[in-house]
Amino acid sequence: MFGASSRLQSRSLPTSAGPGSRCLLATVRTLDPRYLQIASLGILLTFGLGWLGFDQSLINVSVILATILATQLVLGWIMQPGRAFDPLSALISGLSLCLLLRAGSLWVLALGAILAIGSKFFLRVDGKHVFNPTNFAIAVLLLFTDLAWISPSQWGSQTWAAFLFACLATMVLSRARRGDVALAFLGTYVAVLFLRALWLGDPWAIPMKQMQSGALLLFAFFMISDPKTTPDRRGHRILYGVLVACLGAWIQLGLYNPNGLMYALFFLSPLVVLMDRAAPVASTDRYAWSRPSI
């Protein structure tokens, strides 16, 4: 009696669970990838605030998110009248700012949020915005004021493996088709770290430690791989990832500036415009959030 019942269950489980899980996966993959990114960034922020002791208060987070959504609403209403309010991209930029940007005053954080969204609306060429909004806000505040900073080591190295897993999972599931630029960047950057250690005769522990950085992964999977600000062609994207890695490593290791990656992406972003103009793609082949898996 028992045996028969068990067999029945073991036979029926795969047939009922199989289509269900495939269905769920398919749903996730056809979903606007920004939902998944928002979920990932939200989890990272919760983890950072709750467990890693980030130097960011809930008030700061509220100010950034409220300002960024309000700016998106107002500028969207003025610049693109008739278009429905789409908070998703602004929310991604806002959460990224919460994770990265630190300032002594609330108004500086609000300014960061306004700069981020402002850059998206005003700094446009050929129908694309030139800078990743979060990168633009951070780079401008770091380069031209002494009011803000970023804490690249706030993640520590102990949580790195889990972090890497979360980033890869988000990339695979979201099918944002920009994993190439993230991997090209990461591969080059890590190679530079190891080659430098080889040249200096340093123990591998040093490049390993430099590589195991949450900030590096966040940059690779959520900033440089922003589909809207990367070249349209794959070859260009890979070249772009390599160049950002090289310039970033030079600023960081050669000029001893801890914000090297932020600056490298900021300075090289205009290159995307040139690359896209050099070998344009049809507008239908351009990236659109509604067609993530194209």
Partner: protein, 468 residues
């Protein structure tokens, strides 16, 4: 036995000599006191604005002066004018001002045993070699003496080298015996274009000056490298070491950019008996935190504008002392360096804050967990932080009213909480804590059983009813 002090980079000091045990903690902090926590740790003061950096390395070296030597990687060649010998009192004052509140003395760290450095017996004979021969030898080793000065009681050389093998040999032959395995680290610094600041004590000058203790050496230079090299000090080190770093900046707090900087737990209520064991308490708490974070973090112990403090562990340093320690920007500002520079204690300055922000960082490091030199940045964060621990004395008079009874009942909860806080912070046995609390006038009834009847929700409805 030859004793050597190896200073890393612009500074991480790795003490390479066995030190005498420090005297035990001997009291509770009262207003003015010499506060020495982890008083066998290296102490470094870094003043920085832009690329201009002044590093002051204080040594608590207590061995024979003739046996003292230090090697510090520095980013540039240093001229004689860029070196200053200052007073221990200045660093001690800064230490006292920034120390965790209410602490006067601290037990030495038994785990932080300085690394003994035996000197080869033949080395002294090598010194008697002919000067010309030594010069040839130095050249053949690819070591170049960029500059040579006597400043205060120190003979100082600035060295550059072509390759680490030659430098290591030269250091060994000239009584600066580097630790075994220093070669690759020296090679890495050479390839990064670093020079080596090498100092020994000039006994004649020391006698002439009549200085009893070795005084701190300050070095001023311009470099984009905001770092403290700790690697030389970790080579072949005997266990983890402590370093306390004091940063003087114009704007705000300093943090490490390649290791996590965490705030130590602060503003906590702890049992009253902690007053008599504050040194042991702080040390245990630091150790517990280090363990919890896998010895991978740097800890913030103090961050404050130098114009005031609340409460004060020592008076803020006046401007002339801050300038002596490297806060050169004060020379251009409105606060004259000769003036008092600071407001009376516990008061905010009426004309805005002074232009010096002090950050105190504490790190326990070894080669495994800290393979890379410490890199820093100044942030725009000028908010205050201090290690502050609170003792609350209960009211001991008769409490006959109902509010008094409630107060007495609440006291039990408070004592339990204080005991749990202390156990959690220090890892001490809670039974021992409760026993000490009882002796110190904080008795507790039987400890509550977690999830037991004492805390039950229904007790709050009928507090007068006793259990059968």
């Amino acid at each position: 036995m030859k004793r050597l002090l190896y200073a890393t980079a612009a500074v991480g000091l790795a003490i390479a000599a066995p030190m005498d045990r420090a005297e035990a903690f001997c009291g509770f902090y009262v207003a003015k006191a010499d506060t020495k926590l982890f008083n066998k740790a290296s102490k470094v003061v870094v003043a920085r604005k832009g690329d201009r950096t002044v590093i002051t390395m204080a040594s608590d070296y207590e061995g024979a002066a003739s046996e003292f030597a230090m090697v510090v990687p520095v980013p540039t060649v240093i001229t004689k004018g860029q070196i200053n010998i200052t007073e221990n009192a200045l660093v001690d004052h800064l230490d006292a001002y920034t120390a965790p509140r209410l602490v006067e003395y601290f037990d030495p760290d038994p785990c932080n045993i300085p690394r003994p450095m035996a000197m080869a017996p033949g080395a002294t004979a090598a010194r008697s070699a002919d000067a010309a021969a030594r010069e040839d030898r130095r050249r053949s080793l690819g070591v170049k003496i960029e500059a040579e000065y006597t400043v205060g009681e120190y003979d100082i050389l600035i060295l550059s080298a072509k390759e680490s093998g030659g430098l290591e040999t030269w250091l060994r032959e000239n009584d600066y015996k580097p630790p075994q395995g220093a070669g690759p680290v020296l090679a890495s610094y050479i390839k990064q274009g670093m020079k080596f600041f090498v100092a020994k004590v000039n006994l004649k000058e020391k006698d002439r000056l009549g200085t009893k203790y070795l005084r701190p050496i300050s070095v001023a230079f311009e470099s984009p490298k905001f770092m403290l090299p700790i690697r030389l000090g970790t080579v072949n080190a005997n266990g983890p070491q402590d370093m306390i770093m004091f940063f003087l900046t114009e704007k705000g707090r300093v943090e490490t950019t390649n290791y996590r900087t965490l705030k130590l737990p602060s503003d906590m209520d702890v049992p009253i008996f902690t007053r008599n064991e504050f040194g042991a308490f702080y040390k245990a708490m630091f150790e517990t935190q280090v363990k919890k974070d896998g010895m991978k973090a740097v800890y913030l112990e103090y961050a404050w504008n130098m114009a005031w403090c609340d409460p004060c562990a020592a008076d803020p340093l006046p401007n002339d002392k801050l300038v002596e320690l490297g806060a050169f920007w004060l020379l251009d500002g409105p606060g004259a360096p000769s003036g008092p520079g600071v407001m009376p204690r516990r008061m905010r300055p009426p004309g805005g804050p002074a232009n010096v922000f002090v950050t105190r960082l504490h790190v326990r490091y070894d080669a495994v967990n800290f393979p890379e030199d410490l890199m820093f940045q100044e942030t725009a964060d000028s908010s205050n932080f201090q290690g502050r621990y609170v003792l609350r004395h209960p009211f001991t008079g008769p409490a006959t009213c109902s509010a008094g009874e409630a107060y007495k009942r609440n006291l039990q909860t408070r004592f339990q909480k204080e005991a749990a806080t202390l156990a959690n912070l220090t890892g001490w046995d809670i039974a021992m804590i409760r026993e000490k609390m009882a002796k110190a006038g904080q008795p507790m009834s039987a400890p509550p059983i977690p999830g037991g009847d004492d805390d039950a929700w229904y007790k709050k409805m009928w507090p007068g009813r006793s259990s059968p």
